[in-house]
């Protein structure tokens, strides 16, 4: 199968604000703007889970967001990675003790990269994405491998429909 690894040259991100204070969110958006311009790395902010490869989550996730986060995570096609941005997304940060905060994205969906900071700066977010790319690539290889095995197993079994 293909080992061209286009994936890491074209990571499309999906950003979701799961109960953050906006600080990290605007920094995520700032990444797109001329001064940081993540499109240099082929990054596009798609805003649509079906098109996204990297889910960037900010904030500590509150009760209502739990379902939403899970939902958009499920809607992303494999391979995908999750980057938790800011300390709230990592642990709940300063809001950790609030009654409505779940406390960290990893309590809801698996997180691959944590970007610390309050608020995380654009440069840190870029670093986070770069780190995520390696994981993404790993996952893709695993996926193609798995698909091949599955396909050959299916053919061996002579399965139809």
């Amino acid at each position: 199968m293909s080992t061209m690894a286009f994936l890491k040259r074209s990571p499309w991100i999906l950003h979701y604000d799961a109960s953050s204070c906006n600080g990290c969110d605007i920094e995520v958006l700032a990444c797109l703007t001329p001064l940081y311009d993540v499109e240099r790395f082929g990054i596009i902010n798609t805003g649509n889970p079906k098109h996204a490869d990297i889910l960037m989550i900010t904030g500590g996730i509150n009760e209502q967001n739990r379902e939403v986060v899970r939902n958009i995570y499920e809607q992303m096609p494999e391979p995908k990675v999750v980057v938790a941005i800011g300390v709230c997304a990592a642990s709940g940060g300063i809001f950790r003790e609030c009654y409505n905060i779940v406390g960290g994205v990893d309590k809801v969906i698996p997180v691959d990269v944590y970007v610390p900071g309050c608020a995380a700066r654009p440069e840190m977010i870029i670093d986070g994405v770069v780190k995520a790319l390696a994981i993404l690539e790993e996952r893709r290889e695993k996926m193609t491998g798995a698909a091949q095995t599955k396909e050959s197993a299916r053919q061996a079994a002579g399965e139809s429909t």
Partner: protein
């Protein structure tokens, strides 16, 4: 000759027989067998006369003519009776005027009312006969089952099925007579019969609305009838130069200026019958009738009588300003009706408006009347007849199964009634998509209009008109193909559904596309060649390409196999909200709501209220203009 007479007389016989058949099963047998006979006869006609050009037959004239006048008077009396009963005095007035004119004609010009040959057949008549014989009789077959269910669903409607089928078959006979008549008096007689049939069938349910709409149809058609008689009077009066009531002689007379006036008047009759603007409202009102009636009378056959006569006279129209004007009526109707169709959600209304639009397009071609356009017009008649019949019958079947004929309710038909959805899909595709017929005709029409002086007007109208056409058909198609989840399938097995006519018509739609080069070269081109001495034909390379596209369309479903295995199914994107596959989502206020996808109707721009009046006004002006121009030409 025998076949012609058989086609005219046999349906009358069946009609009378059906007056006495009460049981559905028996009726089905009778109708099916006669349909077989009629269809067979029309195919025989094709084989027998296709390569012979125009063939004329001297049928007995005196006695028949007298009988016809007698029947016409009887019909006039019937109209007067009905008009009195329902207090529609306009109908009475028109009927009286018409009867008086007929009497005047018969008495004053009795010597001039002879045609050398009363019947004839040429390729165009064959095409029309095939449409009537195949589509018409299939619809009749379909109607038997339909009417049974209809009365099941509408217990309040009086069961007058015997009358219903009598009229249907009488109508078929009249249609055959209409396309075979060379004597314009005969033609007029059959013309009137279709008017009355239509009146009876529209009013079938006897509700107030139905009666009102039936009278509207009657009045408008009578108006056309009056114009027709006036034309006859004029022809009779100028018998020596114009050729009198002999159609062949009239068309060949060469005295364009003289013939133009009756042509315009008969064209006006055609306009009313073809429900062009401003007379479109009768056809819309006719949609209250049971669906087979809509299919039979108001899309596939009767309205075709209107454009048939226009196409017949298009050699007269060609190159005249009056003809141009008539063509413009058609063109304006085409664009306005197409635009209004956008704002309709009732399937039958959309079909009705689309019918009006397409008849407009045919009329536009006929009015301008160059050989290429006549070629396109006949092609349009064929494709429109098959596709529209399919759509009407399909809509009827869907309505009976799902209880609604609103397009919105057809959402996900591909899941609920897959076979029906595919048939509807083919029907709609037939109306506007590339490899299918209507588009070929449009294409031809554009290429033809380019070469006509002032054809730019038509091209501009056509360009806009086809753009809006794409919009309303595509959104309907979209409704059909939406794959809704968790919807029950309400369709039975292939042979369990009483849809045999539908399957056959679907086959006809596809056959028409696949065979259109043959149809064109065997029927249309010889006809056009015979009249103009020149004919249009599509480039061979293009035909090959069209066939290629058809083939691709058939191959594409293979991709289903390609994707089936590995794809993971995801629910639709709902902004991240918890949602079920059938599009219910957790909404505000703690409510679970359903995401609804509805088509756009753009009422603000394309509403009936907004467009009808201006469109009708323009058309009235154009019709008057056509009269004046014809008068001026004289």
């Amino acid at each position: 000759m025998q076949t012609l007479l058989f086609l005219i007389l046999f349906p009358i016989l069946v009609a009378c027989l059906l007056l006495f058949v009460k049981r559905t099963a028996l009726r089905y047998a009778v109708v099916a067998l006669s349909a077989l006979a009629i269809g067979g006869a029309s195919i025989y006609l094709l084989i027998r006369y296709a390569f012979e050009g125009a063939v004329y037959f001297a049928a007995p004239s005196e006695a028949v003519g007298l009988a016809m006048v007698a029947i016409e008077m009887g019909l006039a009396l019937f109209i007067i009776y009905m008009g009195a009963k329902f207090r529609n005095y306009l109908a009475i007035v028109l009927a009286v005027i018409q009867a008086a004119l007929v009497v005047y004609l018969e008495t004053t010009f009795s010597g001039n009312l002879h045609a050398v040959n009363n019947l004839f057949i040429d390729q165009f008549s064959i095409i029309m006969a095939l449409i009537i014989g195949l589509i018409g009789s299939l619809i009749a077959v379909y109607a038997v089952r339909y009417m049974e269910t209809y009365h099941h669903h509408h217990p309040e409607v009086r069961d007058r099925q015997r009358m219903f089928f009598f009229v249907i078959f009488a109508f078929l006979a009249a249609m055959f007579g209409l396309v075979f008549s060379n004597n314009l008096m005969w033609l007029f007689f059959f013309w009137e019969v279709t008017t009355i049939s239509s009146f009876l069938l529209i009013g079938y349910s006897e509700t107030e609305e139905a009666t009102r709409n039936a009278f509207r149809a009657l009045v408008m058609n009578l108006l056309g009838g009056v114009a027709f008689v006036v034309a006859l009077v004029f022809l009779a009066a100028t018998e020596t130069t114009s050729g009198g009531v002999d159609l062949a002689r009239v068309l060949a007379s060469g005295e364009t200026a003289v013939v133009l006036i009756p042509a315009v008047l008969i064209g006006f009759a055609g306009i009313t019958k073809a429900a062009l603007m401003p007379f479109s409202s009768w056809l819309l009102g006719a949609m209250v009738a049971p669906t087979p009636v809509s299919a039979l009378l108001h899309s596939s056959t009767m309205v075709k009588a209107g454009v048939y006569i226009l196409v017949r006279f298009s050699p007269v129209f060609a190159g005249t300003f009056a003809g141009f004007s008539v063509g413009l009526v058609g063109a304006v109707t085409f664009v306005v009706a197409s635009a209004i169709a956008i704002s309709q959600s009732d399937a039958k209304s959309v079909l009705a408006y689309s019918t009006i639009a397409n008849l407009g397009l045919i009329a536009a071609c006929a009015g301008v009347g160059t050989y290429m356009l006549v070629w396109a017009a006949i092609l349009l008649i064929i494709f429109h007849a098959v596709a529209k019949a399919l759509l009407f019958l399909g809509t009827g079947a869907i309505e009976h199964r799902t209880g609604s004929r609103n397009i919105e309710d057809m959402e996900g038909l591909i899941v609920r009634m897959p076979r029906m959805a595919v048939m509807m899909f083919i029907g709609i595709a037939g109306m506007f998509l590339a490899p299918f017929g209507m588009l070929i005709s449009k294409w031809a029409a554009i290429e033809a209009f380019v070469q006509v002086p002032f054809g730019l007007v038509f091209i501009a109208i056509l360009a806009y008109g086809s753009a809006v056409t794409v919009f309303f058909w595509a959104k309907w198609m979209g409704k059909l193909v939406a794959v809704t989840r968790n919807r029950e399938r309400v369709e039975k097995g292939f042979f369990e559904e009483p849809w045999a006519p539908l399957y056959i018509i679907t086959g006809l739609v596809i056959a028409a596309v696949a065979l259109f080069p043959v149809i064109s070269s065997a029927l249309i081109e010889p006809y056009v060649l015979g009249i103009y001495g020149a004919t249009a034909r599509l480039g061979e390379a293009n035909v090959a390409i069209m066939l290629l596209m058809m083939a691709l369309l058939l191959i594409l479903p293979v991709s289903f196999l390609l994707f089936k295995r590995t794809a993971r199914h995801l629910p639709a994107y709902m902004g991240g909200r918890t949602a079920t596959p059938d599009l219910h989502f957790a909404g505000s206020l703690g409510l679970t709501r359903e995401a609804q996808t509805r088509n756009y109707y753009l009422n603000e721009y394309f509403g009936e209220a907004k467009l009808f009046r201006p469109g009708a006004a323009v058309c009235i002006v154009l019709i008057l203009a056509s009269w004046i121009l014809a008068g001026v030409a004289l």
